[in-house]
């Protein structure tokens, strides 16, 4: 099967969804089938990529000698698998959620969703900076209608911040950075070992790294993080897949890819090229955790938690050791499973009990044991406790900090883990241990099955990932050697 199916299958899916717009059952079935096929196709590339191959497809010359081209390397396969695999789960969840809450414009919703996945796959498979940029913007634009789905004043305000920051940073910083790279080196390809080494001065490289790190607004480095909480006006499946997985991970994935294949780890580790970004990421990491502590709105708290977790990955990239980058890459996967579960839970709580504030959740765990059980597992995974997936990525990130001889960054990781405990664990604790307010109905009141099954699946995923680091290591090791 050609590599081209990966980015363009979701586009075909979007077309099918539009055509089946009048038949909701067929529409959702088509979405699900497309997602399942896409995930299967993506996984089918695993053996080849693990064996060290880099399949490449060149579409055509896009701008002069700059090509529109795709290639699949280990990092990209990891991100593509996460995006496509969780798309399937989210589609299942979204079908239940959208019907359960009687949302309008469902066809538009599923269409934009599929186009957004096309953007995410394009980012994952980009063979050069230009292709990455094209699909990065496609992802931004296709998610705007999803963020503003409700069409009210709050949605418009959220959408304005969302589009303003994401388009502003990408056109204002990322595009100039790409142009600069092109002018300075004459190439935009992601090459093992990087393309900048020996072509630019240290000062220029430092500036470029800053432009890339801030230009990728989706990575939500402070002060460009505001769009993430603003995007929480979207329906929960959008928050779950896009703002916990596809969009934000496209951001940090881009930073990882640029660090590894444009700068090259050896070059990036020289001098102080990544130092400024490292400090910004460390600040974001702590500051976002502290803000999350103060938020009572559940989705907003999760959003700030995402900002903080993304900074882990950016920090991993900025440490520029093979261990830290490996930890960052793993964190894409681990955090994706954890955070999507948390958002699914938030949506299930909203669907079943119409609660959005943390302070309203007292005692709700007795009515929704599955939901809050999953919430607890996912929280522990994000905190990084064994036997859950999140412990691996944190382990490698810390090893990376040690390799880079950055004791302060070790401390930052540790403090932040403590803060994770402080803002995540009180939620299931309140739900299970506190007494429900007087007069609330007794008995099991879970959300519809289509919502509960996906969140149990992803919570199980968090658990399984702890025992299955082998395939992941096998995937990341060939790249790790180079």
């Amino acid at each position: 099967m050609s590599l081209l199916w990966l980015p363009f299958l979701p586009l075909a899916g979007a077309l099918l969804v539009v055509m089946a717009g009048r038949l909701p059952n067929l529409r959702e079935a088509l979405s699900l089938v497309t997602a399942a096929v896409l995930a299967a196709l993506t996984f089918s590339w695993y053996p080849a990529v693990t064996a060290g191959e880099t399949p490449t497809v060149v579409l055509f010359d896009f701008l002069g000698s700059a090509q529109l081209a795709f290639s699949l390397e280990p990092l990209g396969l990891l991100f593509a698998s996460v995006a496509s695999g969780l798309w399937f789960v989210t589609t299942l969840y979204a079908a239940g959620y959208m019907r359960g809450n009687n949302e309008a414009h469902q066809t538009r919703f599923f269409t934009c969703f599929a186009i957004a996945i096309c953007g995410a796959m394009g980012v994952a498979l980009a063979d050069n900076l230009l292709t990455l940029f094209l699909f990065y913007e496609l992802l931004t634009l296709s998610t705007y209608p999803l963020v503003t789905h409700k069409g009210n004043a709050a949605a418009r305000r959220g959408g304005r911040i969302y589009l303003g920051i994401l388009l502003g940073t990408s056109i204002g910083l990322l595009l100039p950075a790409i142009v600069l790279t092109w002018v300075l080196t004459g190439t935009m390809r992601f090459e093992p070992g990087g393309i900048l080494d020996g072509q630019v001065s240290q000062g220029m490289a430092t500036l470029l790294y800053l432009m890339f790190a801030f230009g990728v607004g989706k990575a939500a480095l402070m002060p460009f993080h505001k769009w993430l909480p603003a995007a929480m006006v979207a329906p929960t499946p959008v928050s779950a897949l896009l703002h916990a997985v596809a969009v934000v991970k496209a951001g940090v994935f881009s930073i990882l890819k640029i660090t590894v294949y444009i700068f090259g780890l050896d070059f990036a580790a020289q001098g102080d090229i990544t130092r400024p970004v490292m400090w910004v990421a460390a600040f974001t990491l702590i500051a976002a955790s502290l803000i999350a502590l103060t938020r009572d709105n559940l989705k907003e708290r999760l959003a700030y938690s995402t900002v903080s977790q993304l900074a882990y990955i950016t920090l991993g990239a900025a440490l520029a050791t093979s261990m830290s980058v490996m930890g960052g890459a793993m964190h894409i996967l681990m955090h994706a499973f954890g955070k999507i579960t948390l958002f699914f839970c938030a949506g299930a709580i909203y669907t079943a009990a119409h609660k959005t504030l943390v302070s309203e959740l007292d005692g709700l765990g007795r009515a929704m044991p599955f939901t809050f059980g999953a919430f607890l597992i996912a929280s522990l995974s994000i905190i990084g406790l064994p036997p859950l997936g999140g412990s691996w990525s944190k382990w490698y990130l810390m090893l990376g900090a040690l390799d880079a001889e950055q004791a302060i960054m070790m401390a930052v990781f540790m403090i932040s883990s403590l803060l994770n405990i402080a803002y995540l664990l009180p939620i299931p604790a309140r739900a299970f241990l506190f007494k429900p307010p007087a007069g609330s109905p007794i008995g099991l009141r879970e959300a519809p099955l289509a919502s509960v099954v996906p969140l149990c699946l992803t919570a199980t995923g968090c658990f399984c990932l702890f025992f299955l680091p082998g395939p992941l290591m096998a995937l990341l090791s060939p790249w790790n050697d180079s």
């Binding site: 701008l63 940029f133 913007e137 056109i171 204002g172 595009l175 100039p176 142009v179």
Partner: protein, 492 residues
């Protein structure tokens, strides 16, 4: 047959214009207009095919040998501009039918079409001629007819806008005339290629510098380059919808062509840019235009005015590329002629449909229309994205080439200005799009009948063209590079 193509390019719209007057009926005039623009588009396509590899066509008007007779001379740049002008007119022809009927008095419709065709004749003539004085004559033909068709706008302000344009335009045209006269005094010839050969002998004379100065200022007035832009916003805003779209897509492009042609072909860049600091001046003005135009656009309540101010900013991009004196810069400029024409044409046409539906172009008239007219709203969004320079639209292609061209010269401040102007365009286009989709529809009177298919066809042709160029721009980029090479390689 093919030998006569250059003459047909001008003659077709000119004769059709006379035919419109004879036909008198609105439907007949429209049909005549449509057929003439399509035929002239076909001619320009053939001309592009003939010249894109770098060949130069020369046509002796009336059989008089140049440099004594008038020569029509077509190289890659000419052919490209001809393609833009005739192509835009051809695409907008279906749109014209209902829009003109709604905005122009029944009894004057045929005269209106005759004038639009005359204006096209002028614009095509400017682009195709190789004779400096002939260029002036065509310039005045297009200007005079455009003053008249602007004045036919539905609001009485159109009259004053047309008058102000007439004053500025005539001053600009006369400046060009003075410049041509001075060059003639120096060399005794009016043929551009001949001028280019003879002028170097007069390299250091003050007359030559004065001639260049007059022509640059004159062309800049026609081009509405900041700070000579005062006529443009009102003229575009109060003209009939078709005229706004057509002039925004073609007239300033042709004026930019005049500027480039005189600087690069007649005066030769090495002499034109030495001494007068012309390059630096043009860059500075372009940067100011990009930012000032966008900032003013943010504060407009009339969407037509907003688009007009955005045009002033976009003209900045066009001039910036031309001022760099590099192949990359000129190629970016040439491409932006096309991409801006397609994007602005799409926006003005989509707005024209809205004017047809609601009778106004103020932001409040647009409220909620994205829901009631989904196709028009979507086309407007595509045009807006292209203007901002989002990937997969034409605007991104030019922005990329322009940024690369500026970065190659290490002009970081200018690169910053380009980026800042794009960011500002997000704000002003974002305002319109939010109004289209998020504001509740106003209670004003709107037409009940559905939007005519012909109107939508034009709008969507342009919208799709935006995406097509954004996805695969190589054929056009190749022409732009050939044109830039020819311009820098000396005489065409």
């Amino acid at each position: 047959m093919t030998a006569q193509l250059p003459a047909l390019q001008i003659l077709l719209p000119m004769l059709a214009s006379a035919l419109c007057v004879l036909l008198r009926s609105p439907a007949g005039a429209w049909l005549c207009f449509t057929l003439a623009t399509w035929a002239s588009f076909a001619v320009s396509v053939l001309l592009v095919l003939a010249t894109r590899s770098g060949a130069i066509l020369s046509y002796e008007m009336g059989g008089w040998e140049p440099p004594f007779g008038i020569e029509l001379r077509i190289d890659a740049l000419n052919a490209f501009v001809l393609l833009i002008v005739s192509g835009m007119a051809a695409v907008m022809a279906p749109f014209a039918r209902s829009s003109v009927l709604a905005e122009i008095e029944q009894t004057r419709v045929y005269l209106f079409y005759a004038l639009v065709l005359l204006c096209l004749t002028g614009l095509l003539g400017i682009s195709i001629t190789g004779d400096a004085f002939n260029l002036f004559v065509f310039l005045e033909i297009s200007s005079l007819s455009s003053y008249a068709i602007i004045a036919m706008g539905p609001n009485r302000r159109a009259l004053l806008a047309a008058f102000q344009y007439l004053i500025m335009g005539t001053v600009g045209g006369t400046f060009i005339l003075i410049g041509i006269g001075l060059m003639y005094m120096l060399t005794g010839t009016l043929n551009m290629a001949d001028l280019a050969e003879r002028l170097p002998a007069m390299a250091d004379s003050r007359t030559e510098k004065a001639a260049l100065g007059f022509i640059v200022v004159g062309a800049s007035i026609k081009l509405a380059l900041f700070p000579l832009h005062a006529w443009l916003p009102n003229a575009y805003a109060y003209a009939p919808s078709l005229v706004s779209a057509l002039l925004a897509a073609t007239a300033t492009k042709v004026a930019a062509y005049v500027l480039i042609r005189f600087i690069y072909t007649v005066f030769l860049p090495e002499r034109a840019f030495d001494g007068l600091m012309l390059s630096e001046l043009m860059m500075a003005l372009a940067a100011i235009a990009m930012i000032a135009g966008s900032v003013v656009a943010i504060f407009q309540h009339n969407v037509k005015l907003l688009l007009a101010w955005s045009s002033i900013a976009q003209i900045g991009y066009i001039v910036l590329g031309a001022a760099l004196v590099t192949t990359a810069g000129l190629a970016a400029t040439t491409l932006h002629l096309l991409n801006h024409a397609v994007a602005k044409g799409c926006l003005f046409l989509a707005l024209g449909v809205i004017v047809w539906k609601t009778g106004g172009a103020r932001l409040s008239d647009l409220a909620g229309l994205g829901r009631t007219l989904p196709w028009v709203g979507a086309a407007f969004v595509i045009g807006a994205l292209s203007l901002i320079g989002v990937p997969f639209t034409g605007g991104f292609i030019t922005k990329w080439y322009l940024l690369v061209a500026v970065a190659e010269q290490e002009l970081w401040l200018l690169a910053g200005a380009v980026v800042l102007s794009s960011l500002l365009s997000i704000i002003y286009m974002g305002r319109v799009i939010e109004t289209l989709y998020f504001r509740a529809p106003s209670q004003g009177t709107t037409r009940s009948e559905p939007v005519p298919v012909l109107m939508l066809t034009s709008v969507w042709l342009l919208a799709l063209l935006n995406v097509a160029i954004g996805s695969y721009s190589e054929p056009f980029a190749a022409i732009a590079r050939t044109a830039a090479g020819q311009l820098l390689g000396g005489t065409p």
